[in-house]
Amino acid sequence: MSGATAAAYLARRAAQKERVRILYRRALKDTLNWAVHRHLFYQDASDLREKFEANKHVEDLDTIDKMIAAGEATYNKWRHPDPYIVPWAPGGSKFTRNPVPPSGIEIVYDYGREEND
């Protein structure tokens, strides 16, 4: 019984930690989108890190869930309308620009030669 609840508790904490990490990653990328100049980005990134570090020691699962939801809402509010995406990634400018042609198609180079030559 206590083993099962301990495992459930740990599983929930691990899921929350993963959500926090992914949220931090997205927020950091967003900060880079907004603050393009590097010195501004470093300041904003340290501010973001302070915000995450301030809530580091919370232990109650429900409070953590509420904080994560609030953080994700703030992130959604502050998302950049035109983020920088690497060109070949989905959403970038080179994505599916030159798709691989379907297999089985063969181009016959006969340069206009007639068949009875």
């Binding site: 990490r21 992914i22 931090y24 990653r25 997205r26 890190r49 995406i85 970038g92």
Partner: protein, 123 residues
């Protein structure tokens, strides 16, 4: 992760080095540009060097402890948020876009080097 790496390794084009006279220059000569896009994949030493440089220049890391098989949280004593920051720095260095789920799993230099080396678009 290993299956994905194995699949990616098969999909990548093999590097063909011509040994006849007038052949293309070797990839180690980085001051000579290769204008073809098919044989300029990164060599493993380049990947290792650049990854270690990125990790060493991280302010919270002691540069003398960095080795190619070091674990970020266990050996270098970093936080999980520091892990996220290192992965972002690696993304910027190699001009990659790593999906969130994959980026979450990169925990050590080993995994980072393996992932970047097997990525077809690592620049």
């Amino acid at each position: 992760m290993a299956l994905r790496a194995a699949v990616l390794r098969h999909i990548r084009l093999p590097v063909q080095t011509l040994t006849a006279a007038g052949s293309r220059p070797q990839p180690q000569w980085s001051f000579l540009r290769l204008f073809s896009s098919h044989d300029d994949h990164l060599t493993k030493e380049e990947v290792i060097d650049r990854v270690l440089d990125v990790v060493k220049s991280f302010p919270k890391v002691d540069p003398s402890k960095v080795a190619p098989d070091v674990h970020f949280q266990k050996d270098l004593g970093l936080d999980s948020l520091d892990n996220v920051e290192i992965v972002m720095a690696l993304e910027e260095e190699f001009k990659l876009e790593i999906p969130d789920k994959e980026a979450d799993k990169i925990d050590s230099c080993n995994l980072a080097i393996e992932y970047i080396y097997n990525h077809p678009m690592a620049g």
